[in-house]
Symmetry: D2
Subunit: 419 residues, 4 copies
Amino acid sequence: MTLLADLLNTVFERRHRRETPAAAEDGRPLTELARALVGSAGETSGLALAREILTRFAALDDDAKLTFFHDIAATMNIDPEAVRTTLDEYERNPSKESYRAFTVAAEPARQELIRRLNRVPGATEILVNMRADLLRLGRNEPELQALDLDLRHLFASWFNRGFLVLRPISWESPAHILEKIIAYEAVHAIDSWDDLRRRLEPADRRCFAFFHPSMPDEPLIFVEVALTKGIPGSVQTLLAEDRAAMPAEEADTAVFYSISNCQAGLASISFGNSLIKQVAADLSSELSGLNTFVTLSPIPGLTTWLQKEGIDWDVDAPDAMRAQAAHYLLNAKSRGGLPFDPVARFHLGNGAIVHAVHADADISDKGRAQSGGTMVNYLYDLSKVAQNHENFANTRQIVASTEVEALANSFDKTPKQER
Amino acid sequence: MTLLADLLNTVFERRHRRETPAAAEDGRPLTELARALVGSAGETSGLALAREILTRFAALDDDAKLTFFHDIAATMNIDPEAVRTTLDEYERNPSKESYRAFTVAAEPARQELIRRLNRVPGATEILVNMRADLLRLGRNEPELQALDLDLRHLFASWFNRGFLVLRPISWESPAHILEKIIAYEAVHAIDSWDDLRRRLEPADRRCFAFFHPSMPDEPLIFVEVALTKGIPGSVQTLLAEDRAAMPAEEADTAVFYSISNCQAGLASISFGNSLIKQVAADLSSELSGLNTFVTLSPIPGLTTWLQKEGIDWDVDAPDAMRAQAAHYLLNAKSRGGLPFDPVARFHLGNGAIVHAVHADADISDKGRAQSGGTMVNYLYDLSKVAQNHENFANTRQIVASTEVEALANSFDKTPKQER
Amino acid sequence: MTLLADLLNTVFERRHRRETPAAAEDGRPLTELARALVGSAGETSGLALAREILTRFAALDDDAKLTFFHDIAATMNIDPEAVRTTLDEYERNPSKESYRAFTVAAEPARQELIRRLNRVPGATEILVNMRADLLRLGRNEPELQALDLDLRHLFASWFNRGFLVLRPISWESPAHILEKIIAYEAVHAIDSWDDLRRRLEPADRRCFAFFHPSMPDEPLIFVEVALTKGIPGSVQTLLAEDRAAMPAEEADTAVFYSISNCQAGLASISFGNSLIKQVAADLSSELSGLNTFVTLSPIPGLTTWLQKEGIDWDVDAPDAMRAQAAHYLLNAKSRGGLPFDPVARFHLGNGAIVHAVHADADISDKGRAQSGGTMVNYLYDLSKVAQNHENFANTRQIVASTEVEALANSFDKTPKQER
Amino acid sequence: MTLLADLLNTVFERRHRRETPAAAEDGRPLTELARALVGSAGETSGLALAREILTRFAALDDDAKLTFFHDIAATMNIDPEAVRTTLDEYERNPSKESYRAFTVAAEPARQELIRRLNRVPGATEILVNMRADLLRLGRNEPELQALDLDLRHLFASWFNRGFLVLRPISWESPAHILEKIIAYEAVHAIDSWDDLRRRLEPADRRCFAFFHPSMPDEPLIFVEVALTKGIPGSVQTLLAEDRAAMPAEEADTAVFYSISNCQAGLASISFGNSLIKQVAADLSSELSGLNTFVTLSPIPGLTTWLQKEGIDWDVDAPDAMRAQAAHYLLNAKSRGGLPFDPVARFHLGNGAIVHAVHADADISDKGRAQSGGTMVNYLYDLSKVAQNHENFANTRQIVASTEVEALANSFDKTPKQER
């Protein structure tokens, strides 16, 4: 019954949200409304104000949005003098009151603005989109970057792992969710509903997403999984249209072959690590035959790096490609000693190891362009990820299988053109 | 299907929570674990650490809990020097980096500790209980009050109205929720399951509670509602065991006759205002015959105040009692000019008005002791609450019906004993 | 919790169903198994037998299915001598025992066979498909028609209106249900997921289906509804890709523009009448602005009948087409005095009236071929359907609007070619 | 979404049911309405008629109900002449039409009446209660027994195992379901909500019920299960208020200690066998440590039989009591060679064996009165129940453990008083 109540309530709130009047009802400028909202003591008038601000903001064009961002960044910032005064008083006389005064001064008013806007049912999603606008429009301005840090700070607290819900995505999921999976897939494009069905319906395919209870129609991140016998070496085999499905119980390996973030407005708030580990744990307890958790990952930075280094490559020389890829994964670094490859950074940072490298593994145009068709398996050994992660975090140490180590060592550093 | 997924997932996570190992597995002192958690870069080791801390804390006795609170209050506080240095640097050179450095310095590490603890599934409820412990044990120590301000700051953000879910509570609700309603009822005690059923099952009774998605088994606050014809003047009539129920469609009035907060650990985070207004709006759209939203409220401070003022009262003189009560509600003030009566503070602060005062309205021992049996109806006129609230917030102006104004004016200020 | 339990249980049972061993485990011929099942006193062995029979039947080819049908039709029929003997005994000595003996003798054993097969979780759907096979393969054999009457008798009882559940179908429905809507749409083909979305997602579009709790993944019948201002006169306007949606609250008319039966195995078990009336009642209570419930229906038998009658028609003469269509709807009869047109039979039998006739209303190839592009609105006046139905059932009286009566009267009976 | 739809729909239909007008609107006598309903061709008028009949019947007193039953038993019976005529015609000329005519004649019109009444939402529960009335009022009249056979025939089809849903009942179940569990418990009375909680909430306790989708608020039958180490020998130990619960994972035995039928109107329609086997299978797959499925059952007929046989017994002589109980269970027979004890008939009929007999096992007044305090464990060995059932069904062979066989043999047949 509680559940029923819940649903009825959700329906009510959704309706309510849709009925939100689109027309502006308060003639004051938007920023003035924002200041009134932060000043408003009462929840009653606050809710109406907040609704008005969200509605009006959504209707702005990019220039007006930027103006609004600049305005709240400037006028709702911290006041250094107030910080100093309250800090001095707190040091002199530490008390509940003096501490409260300091914390109020040390937090810019725009954080309270965002929290009050969030009281409106359905506001969370709108605020996430507001940050997406901010990142798109204000990327290079320090003032707006500071505003973004405030949004990110709040979102990191609101989208805390403890508040997220893991949901399987299947062919029995609602169509309005599935169309978002199609839209958000960032690794191997889903080109039709039939293609989607091939990734969801067979007994040896799974998909999982994180959701936030206040944005039930919007996945935050999702991972696509193939259950296989043995570790696969190419995505075209994995996704072949005419392949025969296998009973899930016969699988020994779970392959995470695609992970996609869905919300531009949640950039820099990391969910992928939790997602992979939770899914691995869940699958492991459901299917006792699984003993290997592995990715089949792109190597998006390979050709860029080879080019940068002045190294030639030949898509039709699979052994050479594999050696180059192995060398790149283990030795190509960016600032701070982290791996140059962003996908490698992610999985190695999670505590995975470089398990195997394959040539001709992604023969799509995109695959050939970014990595000469090579792909890599990162292996998640659940008993070792914590230690691997620790080592990587502290010493940047990358663990690889003997085979990949050997491959990397076989890489002939002499650039082709010099030979 | 998403819903199903959700439920399966919830079940999984609950199981998981119950299986949380009770035994300590890491020999280090608790505070050291807490420091390690804040220092921990990786989520992997972090989750295990957090789980360990929550488990170990729950097993502590009060003395050990107090020690732990003192320790994190002292060692995870802000560093004034760091605040000043980063603030200076930010003023000199405002940039993303300098702003980030300031925000990190200005927020005590214990906030990050609480956020990281919250990553464990089921942690939110444990943290709320941790704050209840803190409030119980550390009420008068400035250092712990500061720690509490941090917890309250986080909880106010997490339990933002936009994240709460309103659920009807009915005789079809799960028994484990209903037993909490019995336990948490703070106004008119529920003395048995039969008593509970009389408040939930009849067609002219309703109950609603706010829940947080991460604490689905714990109501945060609930309100009991009677649907009536006309405004009732006594709780014994309202709750009479042998009364006949009425079809909800025939009611013209919704009476909020009991509002109870459930979580000691969420003290000072206000939900009641939102709850009443949401319930009034929902009932209004469900039952078109409703035109009056009113409370039947206790006057808990009346006899205390009369005694304090040296005024006698006579429970058996109903007219005199009503006049005293009306006077008290309109004129008895505490510091800051707010009403002396806490229930009056709440409803007037929400924008309600003092509508009517009744004698012999709560003839229970508690009712006679606290208010000589008087009760009051606060009226929520949805078209005026915003304005009333505004006036009350700015000028402490209390609105009352003509009848109550007259009653208050009839109050003979000369204390009886002097006559 | 009950709900959760339910779902878990459903999941369990579905899994169970899928795990049903495909391989035959009992060497006996299928008909012998069927006889053993009817003879089996115990549920335990019965369940295993039933599962085996269902599994083996599903794997048969058409010839073998036909043989099986013939066999149970012949060997599990009534025994006239037993019927007579038990009937005589019952007449001589009416008692519980003699009545029971008669009822057993008067019901063929194959009915008990079907009931016992149905004990297997998931069997209902399989049995419905079994009847679809029977109708396909045994249409003209009296023996198999008798077997079909038994199946139909059981299904009419099992699919009683009281056991059906009405569900809205929306863009938030599970994809595996939606793909069935695409597949089963029988009136205006849905040619893609985008086309489907246009019929489900806009605020002024609705779809409803009947389901049976034992076949939750299979709609039985569904109706597509457009909410409009005024009564529409062409399907191409109604389904135009580029039309703008309207808020549902602004609609005064609900147009049932497509009704499709989904299960061949439930032929002759009528759901359409209930569906239309239930949907009309539900929409009426949701949207108070609705005052007209009307169809936009094809006239599938028009050109066939014109041809049969030797009447020419001209798709490009809209007035003439409308007069012909009106005349046909009111006067063309089949055996028993019922309307010749099957769609007219259905709606007039439900108590609707012929409200308006439109030319150029369905300009698809199918529409032009079957009715020269004409369509008709049948009007459901909820206050009159019962009386209309009664009159139609008793006297075959067809009610039409004055306008349609006039149109029909304007029909020039002299066939064109004679002029 | 389908689920949501479902729930909304259910809510709608329930409301609808409750709004069913209580007042009679059609002045005709009830039986005349019944005849009109059977004659009614159309569903529209049929629904209103059916609603009227159900409403009016519910308001009748027992005499009027009995009159109604007699009337439909007499006037809606088969017409033997029609049966003979249609049978002759079918034999002469077997066709779809002649078969249909026979089946119509051979089925009394009251069956169609019941099916048409069932079209009203919520009718199934009312019809089940109608049969409970019939059984209560018409137990000894052949005419009404025949009517009851028709109801039973329909209900056996509607409550077919394939249509039932198994739901766990827990402390998280809705209160309105739980109060029915309290009311319907027929073996060991539940004397309070606390007592109920002790049977549901501990980790080593389970409860399961069968429901029908059209009666979601009414359990049909439920079983209470204790998870234990070893087979328990007394119910007072099993239900001790102060016992410590055990993690379910540590249990090796599932004890079915109470099975209660809930619906008088479903008498003679057996669910218990299916329930026990389904629950055993579910628990078995959930808890891999379980290897023993056993009851702790009363022996309700023991002292009655001893008395009938003129055998004395002594509650304080445990060994003698056990021998008498063992002898009784294996040798006391009623007509047809079936066990005299009804509980024994049920479990042995399901394929269980007599595993152990205990003295002082139920020391409640009821336990001492009916069986001198003895109880019995019937063991369900899932690998043997089918064979045991078969043997019992064919030869009345009772299987018992060696220990119980020896006990029974030790029984001294010479009645005490003769010694």
